[in-house]
């Protein structure tokens, strides 16, 4: 293992110390650095809380900020935060209008968020839940509830955050976020594994000349492993799977997230995006919004993912809304 570390056990907490030093607009609740919250809660607003394992920056905590999220439970690398930590975040974030839990479809996270919601209820805090499950590769159509949540949650954060910022009630924030959830799909591809600091070894083995289509952001198995092909062919294979589930008609508008997994240069992301743009042109689809860079990573894993959100009149203005967080800023122009 070759990483910039001190003691591998301190990986998460030292990362957090750095983030708190750099960004005074975020802080932590109950004296626990892993209970990551905005320093500027908005009275009367529905709180948006996420959480999950570390090792995915800017996911999850990176989106805590103005018009996006209000808090995040921070787990160990690839581990869920505890229900108690999520409860602390919930209590801090609640401004009397209830709290939306918005996180990815992983067993440990579901258990701990559900538990936190049950404990919050004892404190008379209303919670609702939306679980992201955008990863097309992790289960077939009809079994969407088994799909993992990956980079596409970025769009859900944006929709939920913007809806809450408009002071919509919890049920409406949830409805809009659910709608976005149903309309976003992601496909990923990986070229190399990541290394969990405390484990010290690569999470899986893959040949120098191989790629794995559909690999999860923790190195979960994908759909196929095969010889690496030109990126145009790789993007085509990924896009075909997404397009098949979005049944476009001429004039449809989408938002695209071209996301690097941590070890892939921006240059390569733009080459991939070039091809995706051509393919969407062929479908008669307009890319209304695009973000390109690192949004949901797996430490040093090389690879990228494509997320596409099919917009409508209700979702588009929410996606277009301004956002200002430590890791992501979007100024409407």
């Amino acid at each position: 293992m070759k990483k910039f570390l001190n003691n591998p056990e301190d990986f998460v907490d030292e990362m957090l110390e750095g983030i708190y030093r750099a960004h005074p607009e975020v802080t932590f609740a109950d004296g626990d650095m892993r209970c990551f919250v905005t320093a500027n809660p908005v009275p009367g607003k529905v709180g948006i809380v996420t959480g999950g394992g570390s090792g995915h920056l800017p996911l999850f905590l990176g989106y805590v900020g103005k018009n996006m999220l209000d808090g995040a439970g921070v787990g160990g690398v690839f581990q869920s935060p505890s229900s108690d930590q999520l409860l602390s975040v919930t209590k801090y974030v609640d401004q009397g209008a209830g709290v939306l839990y918005l996180y990815g479809n992983y067993t440990g996270d579901i258990m701990n968020f559900d538990m936190a919601g049950e404990l919050a209820e004892l404190d008379d805090i209303e919670t609702a839940t939306v679980v992201g499950n955008d990863d097309v590769a992790s289960s077939v159509v009809g079994e969407e509830h088994k799909r993992r949540g990956v980079a596409g949650i970025f769009f859900l954060y944006k929709v939920a955050g913007a809806a809450a910022a408009q002071m919509k009630p919890l049920a409406e924030v949830k409805r809009l976020t659910e709608k976005a959830k149903d309309r976003v799909r992601t496909m990923g591809v990986a070229l190399s594994p990541c290394i969990v600091p405390e484990v010290g070894k690569p999470s899986f083995q893959i040949g120098d000349d191989e790629m794995e289509i559909g690999m999860g952001i923790h190195g979960e198995p994908g759909i196929t492993r095969k010889a690496l092909e030109p990126v145009d062919a790789v993007v085509k294979e990924m896009a075909d799977r997404i397009f098949a589930e979005q049944s476009y008609v001429d004039g449809d508008e989408v938002a695209v997230l071209m996301n690097g997994l941590g070890g892939t240069p921006l240059e390569e992301l733009y080459i991939a995006y070039r091809r995706l743009g051509q393919l969407l042109d062929d479908e008669g689809v307009t890319i209304r919004h695009v973000w390109l860079g690192e949004f949901a990573t797996s430490m040093e894993m090389a690879g990228f993912s494509i997320s596409i959100l099919k917009l409508d009149d209700e979702l588009e203005p929410l996606i277009a809304a301004e956002v200002d967080t430590p890791f992501f800023k979007h100024f409407a122009g």
Binding site: S83, D84, Q85, L87, T107, G108, M111, M115, E118
Partner: protein, 215 residues
């Protein structure tokens, strides 16, 4: 005994704490075969916290005791089994809402809610070789005892026996959940660690009732 007042029921929690402390090493040993060996530690921590939290309450009713225990367990033991036990006590507290004293029907409702809560939170089904495979027989036995008009000590004795039999039967099952699932066939023949926790609970409920009945 047909009923037990809330003040007396509170005496159950120090007993549970002492019992799980005593079982700590045995649970660690059991869990190390297919899990990550932390079960004994987390259960000892969980029930110590529950006992302290309930002990700090001023004349709590039954529902409040169970709710407080559940919340304390969730905080002290953020592992899977800790979360499941916390859920059990929280759901059990709802089943006892408004009950001034514990009777066999209340006990049956408590265990039924407990088992259902664990099944829901853990997304487990009967036969998956989990704690549920012991919790469900406890609940079913208590229901049957309530139907017969049994006393609390009779019901708890029957439930403890049902739990012990159910635990023995987990040896024939193959793990489907958690870290043990990775061992699949290797888990056959082993007594389920989570089920052991449920068996200890039923056994300690029983020991508590027998001690009271004996005066």
């Amino acid at each position: 005994m047909q009923t037990l007042d809330a003040k007396t029921v509170a005496g159950l929690f120090p007993r549970l704490a002492a019992r799980f402390e005593a079982e700590r090493d045995a649970l660690i040993e059991l869990d190390s075969k297919v899990g990550d060996s932390d079960l004994g530690l987390t259960m000892a921590k969980a029930f110590r916290a529950a006992s302290e939290a309930v002990g700090a309450l001023d004349a709590p009713d039954l529902s409040t005791q169970m709710k407080t225990a559940g919340a304390a367990i969730a905080k002290a033991a953020p592992s899977t089994m800790g979360t499941l036990m916390a859920t059990g006590f929280l759901r059990g507290s709802k089943a006892l809402d408004g009950a001034a004293a514990l009777d066999v029907a209340g006990l049956a409702a408590f265990w039924d809610a407990y088992a259902n809560g664990v099944a829901m939170r853990g997304k487990a089904a009967l036969g998956d070789k989990t704690v549920l495979d012991v919790l469900d027989p406890i609940a079913r036995r208590c229901e049957a005892e309530a139907g017969k008009g049994a006393s609390l000590e009779e019901a708890c004795a029957a439930a403890a026996k049902a739990a012990a039999d159910a635990l023995e039967a987990t040896r024939d099952l193959v793990a489907q959940h958690g870290k043990a699932a990775a061992f699949q066939e290797k888990s056959r023949g082993l007594q389920d660690a989570g089920g052991t926790v449920a068996c200890i609970l039923a056994d300690e409920f029983n020991g508590f009732m027998q001690a009271l009945a004996a005066g």
